[in-house]
């Protein structure tokens, strides 16, 4: 098995390895054949047991898996004519932020995403998907062009948070995110956002205001990472599993809260076990939601988007 196996998957992959060994035997005995049959049944049952009842922290582990498909993988699968562009025209090009133009089923569109690396080297270049202010401003620049040329915007969210560093503060991380929230709220084009991995706080929301919010099954979206929450509220980051439960940050939780529109299913084990199926599922969902938005005029989109966020929140009076 070339892909790293997560701790809770170990019992399953031990059996799968055993199965592979038995199948590879030149001269299997009758006992082997019997074992093969029972193994297959056991594997199926384990698969159902493990992936059928994933806890929030287990889903987060899948969402953070090094082999998990990144924004660029999906962009190349879902769009044609992908043309990446760079820079915020002010300070730099933030490689944690993916931006460009492409076609979605022949419709020209703008694509924004957060890009993590596939290995340590790329992760350093991509800053682990943590954007700086220039990343948010680059995204805004491309989205403004989308408005100018009346194109829908597709957003792929995958970030452990906006980068907390000296340079980011000096260049106005808070202002960059806030500006995007304000401008995205009034862009008269369809905006469809999909959380494909991690959706941490303002860093995710900073490119994530739109008409639809979809989430892959093994992704999370929250005001803070479970580790951050645990270290602040429980005084110990090792309480992250407890915080992950309490924060209600998985897709089904957020659908129930009226924040997320739909959870996109992943194959058993997660997107990295079967990229193609995952990408097809995303494509199907995006097509369906885009068809609902495509022919709405600008003022309607902006009004409906306003009401969408206006409703969010729970209080009494």
């Amino acid at each position: 098995m070339s892909l790293a196996v997560l701790d809770f998957e170990k019992p399953l992959y031990e059996k799968i390895d055993e199965l592979d060994r038995l199948r590879a035997k030149d001269k299997p005995t009758s006992a082997d054949a019997l074992r093969l049959r029972t193994l297959e049944g056991e594997i199926e049952q384990l698969r159902r047991e493990i992936y059928g009842g994933l806890t929030p922290i287990q889903r987060i582990k899948i969402a953070r898996h090094m082999a998990r498909p990144r924004s660029l993988d999906y962009v190349q699968y879902l769009f044609s004519g992908w043309t990446e562009v760079h820079g915020d025209r002010g300070f730099a090009d933030d490689q944690a932020c993916l931006a460009g133009y492409a076609r979605f089923d022949d419709v020209p569109c703008a694509v924004i995403g957060q890009q993590k690396g596939k290995d340590t080297k790329e992760n350093l270049a991509r800053n682990f998907g943590m954007m700086h202010p220039e990343g948010y401003r680059k995204a805004l620049r491309i989205m403004r062009n989308a408005v100018k040329f009346d194109m829908p915007i597709f957003v792929f969210i995958d970030t452990p948070g906006a980068y907390p560093g000296i340079g980011a503060e000096e260049r106005g991380q808070a202002e960059a995110i806030a500006r995007n929230l304000l401008e995205m709220a009034r862009m008269p084009v369809p905006i469809l956002c999909t959380v494909i991995g991690e959706g941490a706080s303002g860093g995710a929301l900073g490119i994530g205001v739109g008409d639809r919010l979809l989430m892959l099954e093994n992704s999370w979206y929250c005001v803070i990472s479970p580790e951050g929450c645990a270290s602040i509220l429980f005084r110990d980051a090792s309480h992250a599993p407890r915080a992950a439960e309490a924060l209600k940050l998985t897709g089904p939780d957020l659908v129930a809260q009226g924040i997320v529109d739909e959870v996109i299913p992943e194959p058993p084990g997660g997107a990295h076990r079967d990229f193609e199926t995952t990408a097809k599922n995303i494509q199907e969902a995006l097509r369906r939601h885009f068809a609902e938005l495509q022919h709405k005029d600008g003022p309607t989109l902006v009004e409906e988007r306003y009401q969408r966020y206006r409703r969010m929140g729970v209080f009494e009076e």
């Binding site: 906006a162 991380q173 808070a174 205001v209 803070i224 966020y309 206006r310 969010m312």
Partner: protein, 335 residues
């Protein structure tokens, strides 16, 4: 006893540190946490809770803040009965519902923001004033809703919006609901912007995280109080990330202004006049113009044309109440 052994002086043993009376009695004296000067409480309060010795700006409650900013008796609170619920059944060291209940009792506040309408120098404004005493001024559903309503009220009544920020960020106990309040308030400010009404923001110590990544950074004019902590990530998070100690003054008002994200740093003693002046400059025709004055026809023409464009009428002149002007010594000494 021989004379030379007799102690000439009575030795005074210093008391162990723990026994030293470090607490000043409540209500009478105030010890400045910055310069450790002991101040007579009445002077300190009269000076808008700014240290008369070193100029340190102590936190103000929302009540005090409203009193120092608006015309006396003009504040009319709105949405005072909006209460937080516990939609997620959240519990950390104590259940969220119990935390809310005890904080309400302790502070006498319903949540971390008070909103309403008031006049400043006779000019009507919609007001949102945060209060750090309520769970660190954190923004949950109630703060988001009340700020949004205040912005919508400004749009409905065509008045400027004035926001005073003090906040540690979004309220974790309401999780993603809190995050969504950033989008909600910012969307409302987009409408205020479309309506061409001014948003004035005052950032006080501390103003960080979720509130700064939304309405706190979205003022047409952003004013910082001296030496306030202003930023996105908290200093501890940054230190943990970069594994270095941060330079002195990092994320303080003067630093933020230097980097271009604050319009001005304004001592508390001058805040009210500054806001009043800004309101008169940004919210309509020149206030000095009279109904008919052919002598100043050009200025008047401009004013009335602008009034026609924006649908505003000149605000009625009002006298500012006496007794609110702080002492000159409230001005912060230059370091």
């Amino acid at each position: 006893m021989p004379w030379y052994k007799k102690p000439q002086f009575t030795a005074l043993k210093p008391r162990p540190a723990a026994q030293q009376p470090h607490k000043v009695p409540d209500g009478l004296w105030h010890r400045c946490p910055a310069c450790l000067a002991i101040l007579y409480m009445r002077d300190f309060v009269a000076n808008l809770r700014v240290c008369t010795q070193c100029g340190f700006h102590e936190k103000l409650s929302s009540k005090e803040r409203i009193e120092m900013l608006v015309d006396e008796g003009s504040f009319q609170e709105t949405d005072a009965t909006v209460r937080a619920l516990d939609p997620l059944g959240f519990s950390d060291s104590q259940p969220y519902t119990r935390r809310l209940e005890s904080t309400r009792k302790k502070t006498g506040l319903m949540d971390a923001v008070r909103t309403g309408m008031a006049t400043i120098g006779g000019q009507r404004v919609s007001l949102a004033v945060m209060d750090f005493a309520f769970i660190g001024g954190s923004m949950g559903s109630v703060v988001g809703e009340k700020v949004t309503r205040a912005i919508e009220r400004a749009i409905g009544e065509r008045t400027p919006m004035l926001t005073v920020v003090t906040s540690g960020g979004a309220r974790m106990q309401e999780s993603t609901y809190s995050l969504m309040q950033m989008a909600k308030t910012s969307a409302a400010l987009a409408r205020l912007d479309d309506a061409r009404l001014p948003h004035i923001v005052i950032l006080t110590n501390p103003s960080t995280a979720g509130v700064m990544a939304s309405y706190g950074s979205l003022g047409d004019v952003i004013i910082g109080e001296p030496d306030a902590l202003i930023g996105f990530a908290g200093p501890r998070v940054i230190e943990q990330t970069i594994k270095q100690t941060l330079p002195r003054g990092f994320q303080r008002s003067e630093f933020v202004k230097e980097h271009g994200f604050l319009d001005m740093v304004c001592p508390r003693s001058e805040l009210r006049d500054t806001v009043e002046r800004l309101l008169s400059l940004l919210s309509g025709p020149a206030r000095e113009t009279t109904e008919e004055s052919p002598a100043s026809a050009s200025g008047n023409g401009h004013a009335s044309a602008r009034a026609k464009r924006t649908g505003t009428t000149p605000p009625a002149a009002a006298k500012r109440p006496a007794g609110l002007k702080p002492k000159a010594s409230a001005r912060r000494k230059k370091a």
